[in-house]
Symmetry: C2
């Protein structure tokens, strides 16, 4: 009966409450007072005819419908953000040709990226490419919400569901250790050896919904990780090409049995940009 889609504001409000599981904090995050937020969620529940939150007097929990709306609503919000961002960019360029935003994990792919940009610039009529460094595992979100048009990433960290991609190169992985550690002197290591050292737990990166379980420290960026490793408090496993940020206090040891990882160029599956197609074509010829 209700054929009109949910309003963006309703989704934003619900996602905030569903993430915080607390009306007060969610309202603060949204920059508003708590009562209007409560009313908005009630109205949303009435509109959908469904209970989204189980108010339990000492907290808020998600119902099945709420979990569904959280997932789908996040995707919808990202798509909406992307629509605005990309339209704005398309208009701001004022006929000077499309401009592509390429997201690259900071510090990775130096060599591959240089070759790709050089080859692309050499193409006649190629679009300008703006390279933006991305946080860790943030590239896919940047593609989804329109902050980037195309990303250069290693494929295994997260699946490429929802994106088109082109494989560019394959490489091995290395263990990054403190330079003074006994294992750092080895010519090569196995995954089992690295995982079995209790004083060097493998650092954990945040996933979409918090950190994976494990003993290692929780880190958010390369600098934090670099410091922890230099201090002898952690180890990490990285693709070979992602090691250009290493300090002299670090050592990189090849891993003989780590899965190969591949550099991929990825972009939103529905993209129809000429400039993007040209960049991908250039990349496949490298």
């Amino acid at each position: 009966m209700d054929e009109v889609p949910l309003e963006t504001r309703e989704l934003r409000y619900f996602v905030a409450v569903a993430e915080e599981l607390h009306f007060g904090r969610a309202a603060e995050r949204l920059g508003m007072a708590q009562p209007p937020l409560s009313r908005a969620i009630q109205r949303l529940e009435r509109r959908l005819g469904v209970r989204l939150l189980a108010r339990d007097r000492r907290g808020v929990a998600l119902t099945d419908a709420g979990r569904t709306l959280l997932h789908e609503g996040r995707a919808a919000l990202e798509a909406t953000l992307a629509a605005g961002r990309r339209a704005r960019r398309a208009g701001a360029e004022g006929g000077a040709g499309e401009r592509l935003v390429l997201a690259v994990k900071a510090g990775a792919f130096h060599e591959l990226l240089r070759k790709l940009l050089a080859a692309h610039a050499a193409e006649p009529g190629s679009a300008e490419v703006e390279v933006v460094p991305s946080g860790v595992c943030e590239q896919e979100e940047m593609l989804r919400d329109g902050r980037a048009d195309v990303a250069l990433l290693h494929v295994p960290p997260r699946s490429l569901a929802g994106f088109d991609s082109e494989r560019l190169s394959t490489e091995g992985q290395v263990a990054v250790l403190p330079a003074g550690h006994p294992l750092a002197a080895r010519a090569s290591l196995s995954m089992a050896e690295v995982g079995a050292v209790p004083d060097l737990p493998l650092a954990r990166w945040p996933g979409r919904d918090g950190f994976p379980p494990g003993p290692g420290p929780e880190i958010h960026d390369q600098t934090q990780l670099a410091q922890l490793i230099a201090l002898g408090r952690a180890a990490a496993v990285f693709p070979e090409s992602a090691t250009s940020w290493l300090w002299s206090a670090h050592a990189a040891v090849p891993l003989v049995d780590a899965p190969e990882v591949a550099g991929h160029l990825a972009w939103p599956a529905h993209s129809r940009s000429r400039a993007l197609a040209a960049l991908v074509r250039t990349a496949t010829r490298l």
Copy 2:
């Protein structure tokens, strides 16, 4: 500076105007008067700081930014619709287990579908599956806007960009002709032979943005097509399994050089449903 996403209403209005290229008709389609619509679009352009429409005194045209916003906005609206629909469905089931909506092109895959549903129902604890017939080439839109959770489709008609999929079976294609036509008596045909008969142009299906160019008649559903073929006014090429709707006035002749088409089970790439995963697992074991 503007970090809030566009409102769903703004996107709906803009998409309507961009599709009609006429404020009055768009307003009528939206069930509102024209002046508020004009104002809303102006406000949207101000908010984005970008010109979306080139008003030209006797018509409206899309700028580059407008084209971008039309594409991205459609995707965002579909995602928003999907969020509401799926949340509503998830809640309406009231703990009776998930329910999957499977979209199937009407008349296709009879045998495969029977086997799949039987095998799935035989699994202990399997979710209920609701089969909804879909219009022609409509399945992907149904997945995107939440009317369906999973679809059974032939892969070549449109690319599966943005979806995960599992190949189920491969089959050849047949030419569907009027029973009395000379070619209908042949044991097999080639694509070239079918394409070269001037009195039997191949019917054209609507794509996302209108009909592909060509001489054939434009048809919207199987019944129209069946009638045109029975009248000797058109021919069509179909996968073998899609021919259960044929009349006695039709003849199906195998095509020796048509590309093989595969039946695929497809679902939104970001889906995380247990019930869906179980259905896919069952399907792969067929």
